[in-house]
Amino acid sequence: MRSPTFGSEPVISAQGLSKRYDFYRQPQGFLNALRSLVSRELTSVQAVVGLDLTVERGEIIGLLGPNGAGKTTIVKMMSGLLVPSAGELRVCGYRPAARSYPFLSQISVIFGQKAMLWWDVSTRESLKIHRSMYEIPRTEFATTVGELGELLGIAEILDTPVRNLSLGQRMRCELALALLHRPTLLFADEPTIGLDVQAKLVVRSLFQEINRAFGTTIVLTSHDMADVEALTERVVIVTGGRATFDGDLADLRTRADLPKEAVFTYRDGRIERMPIGDEPIGTLVQTAARSGELVDVKVVEPGLDEVMSAVFSESTVRP
């Protein structure tokens, strides 16, 4: 079931989206704990402030920011877990906080640190429950499970209790569960956390594959810059609850304004790095050559980690 207007509108449309958390302060010391029985201090934290964001169908965007920046809160609002304090939000043509069946059956969420699979039974049993929830016909279910089993390399472990799987195997099975109903929109929160290099590559190529094959829109939050670089063209940087950058990776590098580096390798095995400023590269090579016998010279772009670090440290950056 699709919203009647969804075909023409963006997958995600947020205007002035805000979220404030209210909680009571934890008193320090025994006397204050006693005092708190009759009087408690209410505190508010503004987690997201006036977010404007539009995501079109088929996009893969990276929602990035330092810890506590508000990106997970944004994902939680978009997936219907949290009710926004202010602003307008429509996802797949619906108001997420209403948590309607048509909305929830179009999205999928992967929490890298929280399991969606049932712990004590096999992945196949979890998939069967999702078949009932998402009303997937039996023949389509069998086909999709076969395809996902092959694609993710989990065909052999589908009947193993989840508690007996390794972290890498479990993450692949989590992915199978998340993709079973072919969601229109996938929220992937740290999807490669704890995975080995090979498993990370599998996850990344799978995301690319489902994006290409089914036009699945993917919102990725990750601290793994290799994920971001491999998957996203567009990144939204969130700092202090505000979107401080929205653009592509090339724009982001320009914005960070970090110099390229010359990497010199010497015969004795030493490696030295020098930032390339206004000086000609030839001058740098001549300078480096005075320190020993050079065997290699490379010019490298600053890593995305450094770029992000530079951008995160700015208070507000507008493209």
Binding site: L81, L104, S108, V109, G112, Q113, I129, E135
Partner: protein
């Protein structure tokens, strides 16, 4: 709820019950141990009462009534009990609810499935124990033969179980506002064990408490379902059925209200 939504919920519930039964089968020994302890309390009560009556005590009910009641009470208490509050509160506090809230399915369906499947498994272990308990007292056990009375008993059980489940959802949902609902849950359990008739039949409590005992909800979870089998005349049960239905309705409305209001405050702790 449309017929289609109900069918889908039924299908999910069937899958979840099947899965819960698989899990129970893996951890089966605690079930036997737990049911043995469930039967022990009414057995002690039964022996004490029969001993007292043999020594001249005159309770306001007959020996047959008391014996049948105490043989059935462990079964009825188990079938109408609920244990969701603690788990629900923990899910809210630790953010484990997230995994359910992003699925197109009622969060409570998992708890219902857990409740139903555990009761099925407990029934399989408790029935033989109750049968063993009944053997030495079989001459004093009087049960109706008319199937209508057993249908009424089944109805009262389902209503009692629904009410207790809703109370559990209400107490568990308080975790949306409070850090710790354990104390509230404990108070509710205390009230339920004392006022439901699980420890002592309500009919042997002081007569002056009668009006209060008839309107308070917990008696409709244990004492009243047993009463549908033991009452000499079915026409006397009309008021009880009406009061039980009213409590179930009230509990359903209150549980929904607290849940919906609480969800607005949910912070989904952690990822």
């Amino acid at each position: 709820m449309s017929a289609h939504t109900a069918r889908r919920a039924g299908s999910v519930l069937r899958s979840l019950v099947g899965q819960e039964l698989q899990m129970i089968a893996q951890y089966r020994w605690w079930l036997v141990a737990m049911q043995a302890s469930v039967v022990a309390v009414p057995l002690i009560s039964l022996l004490v009462w029969r001993g007292a009556m043999a020594n001249g005590a005159e309770p306001p009910v007959t020996r047959d009534y008391l014996t049948t009641y105490l043989v059935l009470v462990s079964l009825v208490t188990m079938l109408t009990s609920s244990w969701t509050a603690r788990f629900l509160a923990e899910s809210i506090r630790l953010g484990h609810l997230n995994a359910w809230l992003v699925r197109p399915c009622s969060t409570h369906l998992a708890a219902v499935a857990n409740n139903v499947s555990e009761k099925l498994a407990k029934l399989a272990t408790l029935l033989p124990l109750v049968a063993i308990l009944a053997v030495p007292f079989h001459r004093d056990i009087e049960l109706p033969a008319h199937p209508g009375r057993w249908l009424l008993f089944l109805w009262a059980l389902i209503m009692g179980a629904t009410m207790m489940f809703c109370f559990d959802v209400i107490v568990g949902s308080l975790a949306f506002w409070w850090d710790d609902v354990a104390a509230m849950d404990r108070f509710r359990q205390l009230a339920a064990s004392f006022l439901s008739g699980a420890l002592i039949p309500l009919s042997v409590m002081p007569a002056a408490w009668g009006p209060f005992l008839q309107v308070q909800p917990f008696g409709y979870a244990v004492a009243f379902p047993i009463e549908t089998l033991l009452a000499p005349d079915v026409t006397t049960l009309g008021t009880g059925l009406a009061v039980q239905a009213a409590w179930v309705l009230l509990a359903l409305v209150a549980a929904r209200f607290v849940w919906v209001r609480g969800l607005r405050r949910y912070s989904g702790a952690g990822a």
